[in-house]
């Protein structure tokens, strides 16, 4: 064969091979749904992820190393890793009652240490440094980021099993959040100085709803009013999605964001199921992407390009794969039972997040402790929300 003909034949073979291989590659990473999702009990992936987290909370040296690594980039992740783990353990306690005692002990350990750190080191310990660049508008200074996640930690722990010491702690957090949101016409409370986040408000509303179910209080009028105000002030016109951040006057700062909307839609299910489902459907259309059996989430919709922040993680160009947004997309897809999106998300995870298994424990090298805790939560969520909804009925 002459060389020109050989080159053409080689290129043609490469073209055909590419056309064969690329659509098939995902088949090596596809897993049975029962590996990561189950109606009861723990799916194997959740068990392996949980084993790694439980090891972190029983091995102080390992935990210190892992938390230092995250705090070096973002102190918020140290805090959020605790929240997602406590929320996951609560779900796991209801799924696996035989292990409840073990899970409750770890939950109480995390809650106690988090409250201690908040008290001893102040709210800035878990905030990013720019929180100190200007003063909070609402006095005394507090962050809804901390109040909402701590409130939900206390609430889900009590949903699993009552702990009398936590009852007043939860009541105070709930009243504080309500009082600060009510100070603003937009029902917006600061997480950072004059910076309010959808993520934190959605978690706060979910915590209030769980507290109502636990203590027989009724804040449904406030929750309805919040949704009405959000529809009025916080909807991005081009997509119909809630924006990710806004001022205390309800003026949007950023557009919709993948690293906020997926979890917000999940939390809003406790407040207004139809609105939450609509937000999920829109997020799926505007941010969810699938190709060749793989799936991911964009950080921003096509119609709104915002500045990248540390929450976004790395964004892989061309395909616009947002690391943070894709991680949280698991929660949305799992919460709304979107198997068509969840399956390729898991294929992508095992292809591109580099799982590392050791002695029954699983971690994703491309992730970190908070990322893995988010994935764990996505694998086990369900029973707590069901129990709260049942109690409300």
């Amino acid at each position: 064969m002459n060389s020109r003909r050989q080159i053409l034949a080689g290129l043609a073979a490469l073209g055909i091979a590419t056309a064969i291989w690329l659509p098939c590659a995902h088949l090596f990473f596809v897993q049975k749904e029962s590996r990561y999702r189950s109606a009861s009990g723990l799916p194997p992936k959740a068990r392996a992820l949980a084993a790694r987290h439980l090891q972190l909370w029983t091995d102080p040296a390992l935990r210190t190393r892992e938390l230092e690594r995250m705090r070096h980039s973002n102190a918020e992740w140290d805090f959020m890793g605790r929240s997602f783990l406590v929320w996951s353990l609560a779900e796991m306690s209801l799924r696996e009652p035989a292990a409840k005692t073990t899970y409750l002990a770890v939950m109480d350990q995390i809650i106690a240490e988090t409250l201690r750190l908040e008290q001893e080191r102040g709210l800035y310990f878990f905030l990013m440094p720019y929180a100190k660049e200007r003063p909070f508008l609402q006095k005394p200074e507090r962050s809804l980021f901390l109040d909402s996640e701590i409130a939900l930690m206390l609430a889900v722990r009590r949903t699993v099993e009552e702990k009398p010491e936590y009852r007043p702690l939860l009541a105070v957090r709930v009243e504080t959040m309500l009082e600060r949101m009510r100070r603003s016409k937009a029902l917006a409370a600061e997480s950072y100085p004059d910076e309010c986040w959808l993520f934190d408000h959605a978690v706060a509303l979910a915590a209030i709803r769980v507290a109502d179910a636990l203590d027989g209080t009724d804040h449904s009028a406030f929750l309805r009013e919040w949704v009405a105000k959000a529809r009025q002030n916080l909807i991005h016109p081009a997509t119909g999605l809630l924006v990710s951040s806004f001022t205390t006057r309800g003026t949007p700062l950023d557009g919709p964001e993948g690293s906020s909307i997926w979890l917000a839609a999940h939390c809003l299910r406790l407040v207004d199921e139809d609105f939450a489902r609509d937000q999920y459907r829109r997020a799926r259309k505007e941010l969810g992407r699938t190709l060749g059996g793989f799936a991911w989430s964009r950080e921003w919709p096509v119609s709104w390009q915002g500045p990248m922040d540390v929450d976004s993680g790395a964004v892989i160009p061309v395909l616009d794969v947002g690391a943070g947004a894709s991680g949280l997309a698991f929660i949305g897809a799992s919460s709304f039972g979107d198997a068509d999106y969840l399956a390729p998300l898991h294929a992508t995870l095992d292809y591109a997040a580099f799982p590392k298994r050791k002695e029954g424990r699983l971690k994703y090298c491309a992730s970190n402790q908070v990322g893995d805790a988010v994935l764990l939560y996505a694998c086990v969520l369900g029973p707590i929300w069901d129990k709260v909804k049942e109690a409300q009925r």
Partner: protein, 112 residues
């Protein structure tokens, strides 16, 4: 390794780029580089994708460089390697078919 085995390796190493042997050689080279990157533990540095360094002491820049090297070799191994092997198979098949059809054209007609 036997003399025949060494001879085969030499033929592979010296194969033209757009030949079946050339594609196999490149797939093997990719697999070798990926194996080295994996054995060196570079997988841990892909944590830079989450905005975190593999260790506080090592720093973020080091994780980005080593993580990108791992990503490149991994994707080459998972995506490019199989494509090269498939292409090599296709080319080998095509060359055999071509040779067989040329053989039929050259061979003299059978006696009546």
């Amino acid at each position: 390794m036997s003399g025949e085995g060494k001879g085969r390796l030499r033929r592979l190493a010296g194969a033209k780029m757009f030949s079946a042997a050339g594609f196999v050689m490149r797939a093997l080279a990719i697999a070798a580089v990926f194996t080295v990157a994996h054995a060196l533990g570079l997988r841990e540095h892909t944590t830079f994708l989450s905005g975190t360094a593999a260790s506080v002491d090592g720093g973020m820049d080091r994780s980005v460089v080593l993580g990108v090297i791992y990503l490149a070799t991994y994707h080459a191994f998972v995506l490019l390697g199989p494509i090269l092997l498939l292409a090599a198979g296709l080319l080998w098949l095509w060359e055999r078919l071509l040779r067989a059809s040329q053989g039929r054209r050259i061979s003299p007609p059978a006696d009546p």
